[in-house]
Amino acid sequence: MISFSRQNLEGREKRLERFFEILPGATSWTILLGMPCLAYWKPIFAAILIIAFELYWLLRLFYMTLFLILSYLRLSLEKKTEWMERVEGLDHLDPYLQRLQEVALPSDFKRRISLWTHRREAEALRESGRMPPPSEIIHHLVIFPVAKEGRNIIEPGIESLAHQKFPSKRILVVYAVEERASGDVKEGVWEIQEKYKESFYDVLIVVHPDGLPGEARVKGANVSYAAREAAAYLERKHIPLEHVVVSCFDADTVVSLDYFGCLTYHFMISPDRNQVSFQPIPVYHNNIWEAPGLARVLDIGSSFFQLIEATHPEKLVTFSSHSMSGSALVEVGYWPVDMISDDSAIFWKSYLHFEGRYRVVPMYVTLSMDVVSAGSWWKTIRNVYRQKRRWAWGVENFPLVMRGFLKSDTIPLTQKIRHSFKLFEGHVAWATWPLLLAVVGWIPALFAGREFSDTVFYYSAPRITATIFHLAFLSLLTTVLLSLGLLPKHNVKHPLRKKIGLALEWLLVPLSATFLSALPALDAQTRLLFGKYMEFWVTDKSRR
C-alpha cells in the first residue's frame, strides 16, 4: 500500500513519482508544439490529423450533450422527490418495498421514472442484505473550512443547514478555522456559533495551528485536523462513525433544503455505504446574477461537467464539496495534508486503500457556491485563472494513483487501465483541446507552401472545419438553453434582458475555454513537470 503523498519518497518510488509528474505536461506540450511542427513539415498530414481530431471532438461533444440532457432531466425529475419520506420508508424496508411494488406508477413521467429508479435501488438493497442503520441514529458532520471569509460569506451556509428537512439536531457543524485567519474572520465565526448553536447538535470551532510538521498550507490539512477533533468529539458522545456521514464543504457552500435528506437516503440505500463517497451537483448560484460573464460561463460549464460525470458513476471522482462515510474517512487517514486537490485526492486515497472497492454515488441534488468575483473585472479574471489552475492541479493525483496501481495486485487490470486513462486523458485534453481547436488547427493553412496550396485538400479542409463548428453550435445552443433552465429564480431588474445577456455570454466560450481553462491547466501541468509545486491560494470571494 502506498503512502498517498509525494513526501519522503526514495529510490524507485521517487523516480516513478517524478516520471508520472512529468508525463501529463510533457504529453500536452508535445501535442501543442508537435502539431505546428508537423504542420510545417507535413502540412497535408497535419491537416488530416486535425480534421480527424475535430470530428472526434464533435462526436464527443454530441455524446456529452446527450448525457448532459439526460442528467439534467434526472436532476429536474428529482427536484420534487420527498427524500425524507424515502428515508423513513427505508427504516422499514420490507413493508415499504412491498408498498412500492403494489402502488401504481404515477402518470406523471418524471415521477414515474423517479419511483421506478427508487424501487430498483430498494430492491437491490434488500438483495444485498446489508441493511442500513435506522435513520434516527444517522448523524451528519459538516465541516466548513474558513481562512479569510467574512461572516457574510459563511452565514448563508449554516442558515441553509438550519432549514433542512432532515432534523438539524442531528447535524454537527464544525468550523475549521485557520490560525492565521484575521481577527474579524474569527469573530464572525464566533458570532455564528453563538447564533446557531441551539439549532444543531452542536457548532464547534476548531482552530488549525499553523506550521504543523508534514503539512502544507492547504485546505486538506485544515479539514483533516478539524475532522480528527470532531471524531474525538463524536467518540465522547458515543456516536459511532459508521453512522456518521461527513460532508466537507467550502466556506461559501449553501445547500438546498433537501440536501441532507437526499444524502441520508443515498447513505442508507447504498449497501456498501462505508466504502462510498457522495457527490452532489455543484452549482454557483450564490452570486450568479452579479458575477462577471466570463466567470459565470466557466462555472456553469463546471456544473455541466459534473452533471455529465454523474451519468458515469463507475468513473466518477469527488469534486469540490462532497460527502463520505465517517468510518471510511477515518480508516483511510482523512484528507491528504500536503495536497491542494484534497477533494479528488480523498477519493483516490480511499480507492487505493480499499483496493478498488470504493466508489462515488452521484446525487441529483444541488449545492451552491460563489462564482469568483473580486471587485474589478481584471481582478476577477486573474482570480478565475488562479482558481482554474488550482482545479487543474488535480493532475498531482496522477503520479500517486499510478504508483498505487503499480503496487496493487488486487485492483483488476481493466479498472486500472480505465481509471488511469481517464485521469491522464482528461487532464491532457483539458490543457490541449481548446488550443488545438482555436489556434493550432489553423496553422497548416498559414504554413501552406505551393505543395499544399495546390491541392484539393487545401480548399476542402476549411469547409469541413466550418461545417464541424457549425454543428458544434447545436451543442452550444443546447448548453445555453440548459443553463437558462438551471438558473435560480431571482428578483432582478429586467429579468428577460438579463437572461438574453446570459445566453449571449456563451459566445465567450472559445475565449474562456482557451484563456481561462486550457491555459491554467497547461500552467498547472507545466509546474508539475518542472517540480514547481503550487502553494495554496484561497480564492477571493465577494458579494455585493
Binding site: I48, I51, Y56, R450, F457, Y458
Partner: protein, 487 residues
Amino acid sequence: MLVLRKIVFYFFVIIYLILCPLTILYALGYLFRPGTGEGIVKTGLIDLSTAPPGASVYIGKSRYTEKTPTTLRSLLPGEYPVKLILKHHIPWTQTVPVEAEKATVLEKILLLPTAFKHEELLSGPFQDLIPLPGNHFFLLVQGPDLEDLYVYDWKEQKGRPLLSSDSPFQGAKVLSHMTVEESPALLVRVELKRGEKFLWVTLSNEETVIEDLTSLFPEKPLWIEWEGRDRNQLFVFQRGSLNRLEIVSKAIYPKIVSSVRGYGLANKAIYVLRNDNTFERVDQAGKGTERFPQNPSLSDSLSSVRGFLKIKSLSSDTFLFWGERGELLLNRPPYQFVRSGVTGFEIFPQTGRLLLWQKNRLGILDVSEERQREEKIQEGQEPLWIFRKGDKIEQAFWVYDGSHILFRDREGVFLIELETYGKPKLYALLRVRKNSAIFYSEESGKLYFLSVEGDLSSVELLPREKILQFPFPERKEGKKKSEIQKL
C-alpha cells in the same frame, strides 16, 4: 444508465470509424461513385475569384448555382470550358484543366467593363503626365515652363499649380527632371535668364517647397540618385567618382567613392560596382566597405557591358545591373539575361518577379529565391517574353497583385492577363494623348491618363472596395508560368 451509456458509446465509435475516413477521403478529393464501375474516383476542383465578384459561372452550357468567388468541386480530371458572365462586363472564357487531387486556382480574374467609365478629373489641355511612383501625386505638364506644371493629388482628387504666383522661378524653362520611387521630391534642371539651375522640388499636400541646389552642381552630373525616404542627401556620379550632397547644409562631400562604374542605393547604403568589376557595399560616408564574393560568371558578364550601370536592390543579396544600352544583369544566375534594349522595368517585390520592356516586347523574369531553389536557372537564360508585337513600349505596370500587366505602347494602353492556362489575353483599353505618360495606382486600382484632348481622366481597372481581403498569406504562384504562351 450504464447500459445506455455503453450502447451510445459504441454507436458513436462506429459513427466515427465510418465518418472519419469518408470525410478525409472527401477532403482529399476522392469521390465514391457506386454503380459506375469506377468505385472511388479521384477528383479535382476549380477555385474562381473575380474582381468584381458576383459573376455567374458556366461550365459548358451548364450554369453553376453559385457566383464568384466560388469553388467548383468534385470534378473529374479533364478540361472544362469555363465562362464567367457579369452584367456590363466582357465575358471571360477559358478552358481550364483539372487534375486529380489538385486545385486549379484562378483567383485574380479581372472582369473588364464593356465600356470603361472615364472620369474627368481636371480639364486641360495638358501635354504630359509625370508619375511620381510611390506617392499620391503626379505632375501635369501644360507647357515648357516650370509654372506650367500642376500637382495633382490622386488621393484627395485635387490639383494646384506647382509654383505660387510670386515664385522666383516663374519663367524657368524645364530642361529635364528626375524622380525616384517613393520620393515626394524631384530634381529639375531649368533654364532661366541667368543660366541653368538645379532645383529640388518637394511636394506635399499643401505647398511646394523649392530649393536651389545649383551650387551643389559645379558641372552637369552623369547620374544622380537618392533614396526615396531620404530628403537630405543626393549621390552624384561624376568623372568616375561619387559625390555626396547634403541639401539642408548645402555641403558637398566629393569623391566619397572612387573608381566607380555603377552604383545604387538601398537601406542607407551605397552599392558600388568598381571599375575592376568588384561589387561592394559602403556606408553613406563611403566607408565601411563590405565586398560581395567575387563571381567569375558575373565578372565576365559585367566585362561585356560598357559604360555606366545603375544598380537596383531586389533583396538583401540580389541586385540588378542596368546598362546604358539596356543590358540587364543579376548578381546570380542567370547573370546577364538581356543583352540590350531594356528601356524600363518594374519589380513586384512580393513575388520577386521582374517585368521588363524593350521597344517592342515585354518580358517577365522570376528572380525570387524560391524559384532559384526549385529550378536550376541557366546562365544567360532569357526572360519569358509574353508580348512581342509592340511598337514603342514606354511604360508597364503590374496590376492586381501581379496577375495582369498594363502597358503603354505609343498612344495605346493595353492590358495582358497572365492568369491563364491558355494564351494570355490581350485587351486594348483606350488611347491617350500622344507622347503623354500614364500612371497606374494599385492602391486605388485606377489608371490616370490624359485623354486625346488633353484632359486628365481616370478609369477604374480594379474595383478595390469589392475585393475581399483574406487573412492568410497569398498562395504562391508558379504553376501557370510554364504554360504561358507568347502573344
